[in-house]
Subunit: 340 residues, 2 copies
């Protein structure tokens, strides 16, 4: 039925291990003549090696897991920001001869099970909380290289790649301060003392303090990072924070909601309130007013994640320091001087 190594070997009149060597590019051990003949027969017969047999016999599966949090009831937590990363990672892996197992993880305890079940050569963690990443121990990961994207967890086992969130927030805050804003709301998900949002808050506060703005004029609004929560916040923003003239939202999708809520409530944007986001999603350029935001290098995140993970897998490199990617301010139409 299925064409096996053995069938090729018989057709070529050589041993299975010679065919195996040809397939695996160990041609130094095989004569050019034999190599050619074997290759021709492989092509003729349309032979495709069995990945599971290979995985079982070798120490390598050439399978990489992309692990994403997912309550079993819910679908995967694929934020607009994470979506672009998916495709880029698959592409990078495929070009290097690896395959991608996409796995939703309802409980971080499942991570170890996922790694061992398919003998994954490595895994990328996308969207987990820093507390969860920090809790990952050698006992659960074994010797499998694992890399966390956007993590500030102090876990040498998972150091990965992320954006320069602190600087991004500084750019956003400095932009608003430079326009003349003095009362600025920080809107984002609740945060602890570690993680992406915390870093952005730190950068935000640092810049405002340098500008001499008191903390009480720059309150924090904790909301979920969804369009709907943004709309709700926008609708009540000026009642909750009289005198506020600007909002820094930690995600574009949230900023877009806030703008919609403000406009629906009759508050002109950026006339009465300026809004700046973070991510630079595609849609951020499509809405009205077009969103001023902090752009992340999403393809760069994905490409570097693949490079670093494979370097560890193939080269046995130790986990290096986290790679921090630059961000930049993208000025569009949702910010202006107060009262403009």
């Amino acid at each position: 039925m299925r064409v096996r190594l053995k069938d090729i070997a018989e057709a070529a009149g050589v041993s299975v291990m010679t065919v195996s060597n040809v397939i695996n590019g160990k041609t130094a051990r095989v004569s050019a003549e034999t190599t050619d003949r074997v290759r021709r027969i492989i092509a003729e017969r349309g032979y495709v090696p069995s990945a599971s047999a290979r995985s079982l016999a070798a120490k390598s599966s050439r399978l990489i897991g992309l692990l994403v949090p997912a309550a079993s009831e819910d679908s995967l937590a694929i934020s607009p920001h994470n979506i672009a990363i998916f495709g880029q990672i698959e592409r990078g892996l495929r070009k290097r001869g690896y395959h991608l197992l996409l796995r939703g993880v309802a409980d971080p305890a499942e991570i170890g099970e996922a790694l061992r079940s398919w003998s994954l050569d490595g895994a990328v963690l996308l969207g987990f909380l820093d507390e969860e990443v920090a809790a990952l121990r050698p006992g659960v990961l074994g010797r499998t290289p694992v890399l966390a994207i956007d993590s500030y967890a102090d876990n040498p086992l998972t150091t990965g790649v992320r954006s320069d969130d602190f600087t991004g927030a500084r750019l956003a805050a400095a932009h608003l301060v430079g326009l003349g804003h003095r009362r600025i709301v920080f809107a984002g998900p609740a945060f602890t003392d570690v993680g992406v949002v915390h870093e952005r808050f730190l950068g935000f506060r640092a810049t405002l303090e340098e500008a001499g703005l008191p903390a009480e004029d720059c309150p924090v609004e904790s909301v979920n990072t969804t369009h709907g929560d943004g709309v709700a916040l926008g609708a009540r923003l000026l009642q909750a924070h009289p005198g506020c003239t600007a909002v820094f939202a930690t995600a574009d999708i949230l900023a877009i909601g806030i703008i919609e809520g403000l406009i629906a409530a009759g508050v002109p944007v950026p006339g009465a309130v300026s809004v700046i986001g973070f991510d630079d999603l595609d849609i951020s350029a499509y809405i009205t007013p077009r969103l001023t935001t902090i752009a992340q290098d999403i393809p760069g995140k994905a490409a570097n994640a693949v490079d670093r993970l494979l370097a560890r897998i193939e080269g046995g490199d130790r986990p290096a320091d986290p790679l921090v990617l630059d961000v930049r301010l993208v000025e569009r139409d949702s910010t202006a001087p107060p009262g403009a």
Copy 2:
């Protein structure tokens, strides 16, 4: 190192096949007492079966491929519409004990290779052209169940699930005609005589003919399904089609671009030109004006795709007729009577 079936068997004082039976739920063949003891030891030792060994020994891999077109240079072709499907399919599979291999396919010829390499139990095709789906032969698919989403290809091997595109287009056209529009542009990607876009064109034309509108008043604009192409079309729409008062775009992302292009050119939407889309993406409710569109049941597509594929895998069912999901008109603010 790794805990194996054999280790569990030794610890429990039984044979490996008894442990195997317990794991695979064939408890009818094992005493309740033994079952309990084995289960306890499995939990204690944190045993995780080797999926590749299992796949090799059994006829089943419990691995499903999600195959998506991807030029090797490009990232995956993940349109906003397809993205929601990803997560839903992963979730459905995971709940049923299957895993998902996400694979970009640069050339349809790779499909067979993908299926055989990992001994996939089945595969879902997402985003392929109907010509490509139609060309799939038993020779390349073998006996592996394959299901194509959104396909009109007349290939019994791949019948899958899709929306009622014809009716969707009728709803869109009837909505515009009902508002009083008489000159309506059909904007979408170039199409052949089979496929999603062709069906929508047929529904569009049928409705307009019933309304007595001559074909020359309802021209076709072939553009790529991207925001950018939409903007370009919107900018030149009234020069290209003087007197036109409405556009039916075959995708929301395209409709959104068209609206942006129109507004940038000083054409009020829906005041001078109404625009209706197709998909009902999340962002379609966020833009200004909020987009009137035809909603597809995307979670339904994914859930039914999983159900049907697994029915074929587990039950050996023959491929059934395609499942056609209902669509519905979502009226928002981008359409109005002409000159409103």
